[in-house]
């Protein structure tokens, strides 16, 4: 069971949240000029690291706000929680 800290509401049980997958994937600005491979990379290719993962969660059964988290996918240890308007933290390990 994961204990997730919503930046707005504090620590809550995993069951209150829904997962949003990899974070910091920006929609390409010039979509008209995008090649098929670039579309595929944006839509389907994922980093899927074993280790530090930047990801999105939504507090679905709470404040219903989206936020970011950093988690080690091998141990499930959370390394950071931050609002979407906050800077991506650099985590080295």
């Amino acid at each position: 069971m994961l204990l997730i800290t919503c930046p707005y509401c504090g620590p809550r049980s995993e069951e209150e949240f829904a997962y949003g997958g990899e974070g910091h994937i920006a929609r390409p600005a010039d979509t008209d000029g995008l090649s098929d491979d670039e579309w595929a990379d944006y839509l389907f290719m994922r980093t899927n690291p074993k280790g530090v993962h930047y990801e999105r969660w939504v507090h679905a059964h709470g404040c219903r706000r989206w936020f970011n988290a950093v988690r080690d996918t091998a141990t499930n240890e959370f390394l950071a929680f931050y609002r979407v308007d906050e800077k991506k933290p650099e985590i080295d390990r």
Binding site: M45, K50, H53, T73
Partner: protein
């Protein structure tokens, strides 16, 4: 390799089972091979077997970081069926089902394939329509399925609750009689033994840590036991595929998730088929040891920890309680998790890559055990000829750029 038979069983029993021949060798890695298969699960071992048996390539190594079948192969709930929606899927899964039929004889190893039928339940109008659509799609491919009314479901599975008076009543079911279950370890061991006897080297406790690639051409693998040269490397690493992809500079359309299952304490035989329900999220069978084997969907978050959270377990048990009230006093014996490799369209990748001589077979996600023989067979041909086998052609990496996805999310999401 000495053949297993009823006579060898008797002969060895008379010796108090002290003189069984070792099932496969454990050789030190050679400095070079014609093909290296990374990953000693069912799919990797089957690939090596068919390379040796059908493609005449016997200078092959299977490199496994742990023990054979210690990944998803030995953690899965062994449901074997071929009732997917798309023609491409029916192609590969029905091919596998054909191979399952004769696999024990082919490998001289009892994989305990039991065609006890797999029944998919419908609990609402949407389910009924989805089943009908899948049903008709399969019949167009000459893949026989039967539709059961709630009363016929009850006759087939007497302990099921078909009362209309529940949140998700049973409205019908789709039965594939030639589907069933098999013994997962035996599949890994049977392929390993048969591949070894054809000359394949099986190297356990050896992790691939990198690739040597020169001018876009595969040269070999770096491992915890040193460099091993090979012009062709097939990665069959399930949940760790993205990790291997990254070693070659590739990004794959895959995310790894925990998938859990559990067994109850052993009970006398009373559940002689497999029943799945996508809507209430549970599937059940009974193992030969008597344990009820149950599972459901993945844990939603990415993970490599081979364990999941408790909520999916609570969820599947509550669903099981509504469908099978007689389970109420049965105790759970143990639960576990594997790391499944999910593609966005819930279909596998059997593919060449931009690196010449590097191939991937992965993305089988929650449902690849059933495909083991077919997957190994078409992947071996793909590697040997450096050209996709016709049944594998739809599962190339390029489909994500061309848009030719093979969407199986309805048929694969909960049901494995």
């Amino acid at each position: 390799m000495k053949k297993y038979s009823v006579f060898s069983l008797v002969r060895n029993a008379l010796d108090y089972h002290r003189n069984w021949q070792q099932a496969w060798r454990s050789p030190a890695p050679k400095s070079a091979y014609d093909v290296i298969v990374v990953g000693g699960g069912g799919h990797g071992l089957a690939t090596a077997y068919y390379l040796a048996k059908e493609c005449g390539i016997t200078n092959v190594a299977v490199i496994e970081k742990g023990w054979l079948g210690g990944g998803n192969t030995g953690r899965n709930t062994t449901i074997i069926r071929a009732n997917y929606l798309q023609d491409e899927s029916t192609g590969i899964y029905a091919h596998a089902l054909d191979l399952w039929d004769t696999l024990s004889t082919e490998l001289n190893y009892n994989v305990m394939f039991s065609k006890r039928g797999v029944l998919h339940l419908a609990h609402n109008q949407h389910d009924l329509k989805e089943l009908a659509r899948r049903h008709n799609a399969n019949r167009m491919m000459a893949n026989e399925l039967e539709f059961l009314t709630p009363e016929q479901v009850k006759a087939f599975v007497p302990i099921i609750n078909i009362s209309p008076d529940v949140r998700y009543p049973v409205l019908g079911g789709s039965l594939q009689r030639r589907a069933g279950v098999a013994r997962h370890d035996a599949v890994a061991w049977g392929y390993a033994r048969a591949a070894d006897s054809l000359g394949v080297d099986i190297i356990q406790n050896c992790e691939v840590t990198g690739f040597r690639i020169e001018q876009g051409q595969m040269k070999g693998v770096e491992t915890t036991r040193g460099f091993i040269a090979s012009p062709k490397v097939g990665c069959v690493a399930a949940g760790h595929s993205s990790v291997l992809g990254a070693m070659a500079g590739l990004r794959l359309p895959i995310e790894s998730h925990p998938l859990q299952a559990l067994v109850s304490e052993p009970l006398k035989p009373f559940f002689d088929t497999v029943v799945m329900s996508n809507t209430v999220h549970v599937y059940v069978s009974q193992s030969d040891k008597g344990e009820l084997v149950m599972g459901a969907g993945i844990d939603a978050y990415n993970g490599y920890s081979q364990r999941g959270s408790l909520p999916p377990i609570e969820h599947l048990l509550s669903a099981a309680m509504e469908l099978y009230p007689v389970f109420s006093r049965v105790r759970v014996l143990r639960k576990w998790g594997g790391i499944v490799d999910i593609c966005p369209d819930a279909s596998p990748l059997i593919t060449k890559t931009p690196v010449q001589g590097l191939y991937f077979n992965c993305g089988w996600g929650t449902g690849g055990f059933k495909a083991t023989p077919g997957s190994g067979h078409v992947f071996a041909h793909t590697i040997a000829r450096d050209d996709p086998h016709p049944l594998a052609a739809a599962f190339r990496l390029e489909r994500f750029a061309t848009g030719n996805l093979v969407d199986e999310n309805l048929a694969a999401a909960v049901a494995h």
